[in-house]
Amino acid sequence: MTAATVEVTARGQPSGSGAPVTNRGALAARQFSFWYGEKQALFDIDLDMRSSAITALIGPSGCGKSTFLRSINRMHDLLPGTRHEGQILLDDADVYRPEVDATALRRRVGMVFQRWNCFPKSIYDNVAYGPRINASLPRHELDWIVESSLRRAALWDEVKDRLRQTALGLSGGQQQRLCIARTLANDPEVLLLDEPASALDPIATQKIEELLYELKRELTVVIVTHNLQQAARASDYTAFFYMGRLIEVGPTDRMFTAPQEERTNSYITGRFG
């Protein structure tokens, strides 16, 4: 394990500050490549995603950032004809080891999607979905999980009087925060977000960003976004993907003020994408 850590630093990831690599929920990709059938979508990605920080993945459409995000919690497993090489390390252990149960992995690595996808059930049942399938808990414990998850997602005050009503009656921003609460109910170590605010208005977007800022204290947050301002505002590290390759990664303020790669500079100044 120490050897791996040494190798990481040796490979020269732009490290920013010397944060510890072994925090709970720390993620890293090592020489990770991915194929949809014959088409290679990701090429030798090496990327550290620190715990207690928000890493933003940016890049033009089709650059592989969503593919990479979905590789982390193995959402591709059910797609026929996909394969990968290399490793994705969660707490220094490869998530693609054969003995890893993908469903258990997805409980540790929660995911929120671009389009909020609440179940057509009550607010309570949405949040309780994960805990219910993963363990049979006594009623009061489930109540507690639901309440604390909704509180962590900054939604409790808005919905506490209508937990039994259907989730689909909520506004888009509320539904997206409900999806985050539903993910938090599994008590994950990592939160992956695939353009969580791209279909939301600015106010709702701001709420999500504030929420992420709170959540990063206890979670590793990785967010895919098309919105460069959002990446600049809300993330600690930014990784720029282009055509399936990781072009550059670094602390967000440096990436947006002094990018080292010409292509990064072109993208963030709006010359393409």
Partner: protein
């Protein structure tokens, strides 16, 4: 930086804008006006024609209902409410009660749905979720083909294959080996022609309707719903049970109702298998009658006006029952989709 991206998007639209004014110039304002007027008249004629066609369908339905009702009115007036409750069906003495036929229609359809619904949902789930890709189309095609078999062919198959199997193997097995004979439903002699046989053949006939609707509905469940469950750590089965099926529930109920409609009205195959005896028996092994087979059997040789009128009245009752079933079905689908879709307490 995003500002740059936005302005490049806006740059696209002015390029398209000039086409509209220049197109109008080419026509000239006068001809454009004439064209618009022509289009308005055309629209009116078109919408009037379409409205007429659309109104024809409900008008026809009402006409049929009125016609059947008037035909059945003499019998309904003569026997009153007892037409629905009496078991006496005696053309010789001119006494008619439709209760056995009503009972038979409802029970045979209920048996059909009880057997076909779980099977059909299973088939649909297999075809939409589990079957390997190369197997899906052929199997789906074969299941759909069940709906294309003429009902008299089902009847023939029932007479020569299903009835002997039921009489010799299934009925004795249910009654004696499993000791279900203690229940009234599985008691009595095993003739063959029976409510059970009719229900079974109906279940085969309605299965393709339920399964193909269910399959379409399951395939239409958005990927985001499956992903939501998977991302929360659900297994494939938990995903189907907890996210896919609930989402598809109202559509599947719709499919079941479609099957029920088919089962209620099915005539030929049922007539050949149910035994055609106007009696109400708790045992599914006993022969029975349905409204549709009663009409089909007796209409050609109806003796006298009252007999004919009684048959028309049976037709009217069948019509009303079908309407009620459909209304209940609509209400059910609406309830289910409302529970998921909008605000409920």
């Amino acid at each position: 930086m995003t500002g740059a991206a936005v302005s490049s998007e806006q740059a696209g639209s002015p390029r398209e804008r000039p086409t509209t004014p220049s197109g109008a110039d080419a026509l000239g304002p006068k001809r454009l006006g004439a064209r618009i007027q022509g289009a308005v008249i055309g629209d009116r004629i078109y919408s009037a024609a379409i409205t007429l066609f659309a109104l024809c369908v409900p008008a026809l339905l009402i006409l049929v209902a009125v016609e059947i009702f008037l035909g059945g009115w003499p019998a309904l007036r003569r026997f009153g409410f007892s037409f629905l409750t009496s078991s006496a069906w005696d053309p010789v003495n001119g006494v008619f009660g439709a209760a056995p036929a009503i009972y038979g229609t409802l029970v045979s359809s209920a048996i059909a749905l009880a057997i076909a619904t779980p099977l059909a949902i299973g088939v649909a789930l297999f075809l939409s979720e589990f079957a390997p890709q190369w197997l899906r189309q052929p199997v789906a095609f074969l299941v759909d083909l069940l709906a294309a078999v003429p009902s008299v062919v089902y009847g023939l198959w029932g007479v020569f294959v299903l009835l002997p199997v039921l009489r010799i193997t299934v009925m004795p097995f249910l009654r004696d080996t499993l000791h279900l004979g203690v229940l009234p439903f599985f008691s009595g002699p095993a003739y063959g022609p029976s409510m059970l046989a009719a229900g079974l053949i109906l279940s085969i006939m309605v299965l393709p309707y339920i399964s193909s609707v269910s399959r379409e509905v399951l395939l239409a469940v958005p990927r985001s719903q499956r992903e939501a469950a998977l991302a929360l750590g659900a297994t494939k089965w938990e995903t189907i049970w907890g996210a896919v099926l609930p989402y598809a529930k109202s559509g599947i109920i719709g499919g079941v109702i479609l099957g029920l409609g088919r089962a209620l009205g099915e005539t030929m195959a049922v007539t050949m298998l149910i035994g055609n005896r106007p009696q109400i028996s708790a045992s599914l092994f006993a022969p029975g009658y349905t409204m549709a087979s009663l009409i089909a059997n007796e209409f050609a040789e109806a003796s006298g006006d009252l007999h004919l009128s009684a048959l028309m009245a049976v037709g009217f009752v069948l019509f009303v029952i079908t309407l009620i079933v459909n209304a209940i079905a609509r209400w059910l689908v609406w309830q289910v989709s409302r529970a998921g879709g909008e605000k409920t307490a």
